[in-house]
Symmetry: C2
Subunit: 107 residues, 2 copies
C-alpha cells in the first residue's frame, strides 16, 4: 500500500491481467471490483455535507496532479469513488495508485 | 422561473401533487422527472475537470445556504444533478427552487 500511494500515474499504462488486479485489491482495504471487472470502487461516509465536499475537493486536487480522474457519486454524507482507465478499457496501475492515494488522504 | 429562483427552501415542505410537478417542470429547461417520479435530474457538460468541480462547489455553496442538498454524479466533464426531498418521500417546492437556482448559476 505505502508503495502504491507514493507512485505516480503514467500515460498509456497497460490494462492489468486479472491476477495483478487481485493482488492490488488485497493491498487496498475496502476497495472492490465492479461486476464487469473494468473499475474499482469504494464508499466513504462523513458527518455532513461540508466534510463530504472537502473530501471531494481533496480528491479533485490529487486527480488534477495525477491527471487521472475518478467518477464520483456525491450525496449529503457519502461519496462513492470509482476508478477506471477508459483509454485502456479496464484497470491499470493508475487506478490502484490513485485508490491508494485516496486511502492516504483519510489516514 | 425567475420567481422560483428567487425563492428560498422551507423546512417541512409538502410533497407536491403530480399536476404541480408538471407545471414546475415546464418552467425548468432540461430538467426531467425520474422514472419513479420521486426526483428530478439534469445533466451539465463542461470542458474539463476544473470547470466541472467549480460547478460542483457553486452548487455546494447554494445547497448549504438553502440547507437542501442534491445528489451529484461527477465525472471528468459532466455533472448530473438530482433533487428529491427524502423527508417528504418525493418532490417538494424545495427541489424546484434549487433546480431553478442551478439554472441561474449557469445563466
Amino acid at each position: 500500500m505505502s508503495d502504491l500511494a507514493s507512485r505516480h500515474c503514467r500515460n498509456g499504462a497497460d490494462k492489468l491481467p486479472a491476477e495483478q488486479v487481485r493482488r492490488y485489491l488485497e493491498e487496498l482495504a475496502d476497495w472492490e471490483l465492479s461486476q464487469d471487472e473494468r473499475s474499482i470502487q469504494s464508499t466513504f461516509q462523513f458527518d455532513n455535507y461540508y466534510q463530504t465536499l472537502s473530501f471531494v475537493n481533496a480528491i479533485a486536487w490529487m486527480a488534477n496532479r495525477e491527471d487521472h480522474h475518478p467518477d464520483l457519486e456525491v450525496s449529503y454524507n457519502r461519496c462513492v469513488v470509482h476508478y477506471s482507465t477508459h483509454d485502456a478499457g479496464g484497470l491499470t496501475d493508475n487506478d490502484f495508485i490513485c485508490a491508494a492515494k485516496v486511502i492516504a488522504l483519510l489516514s
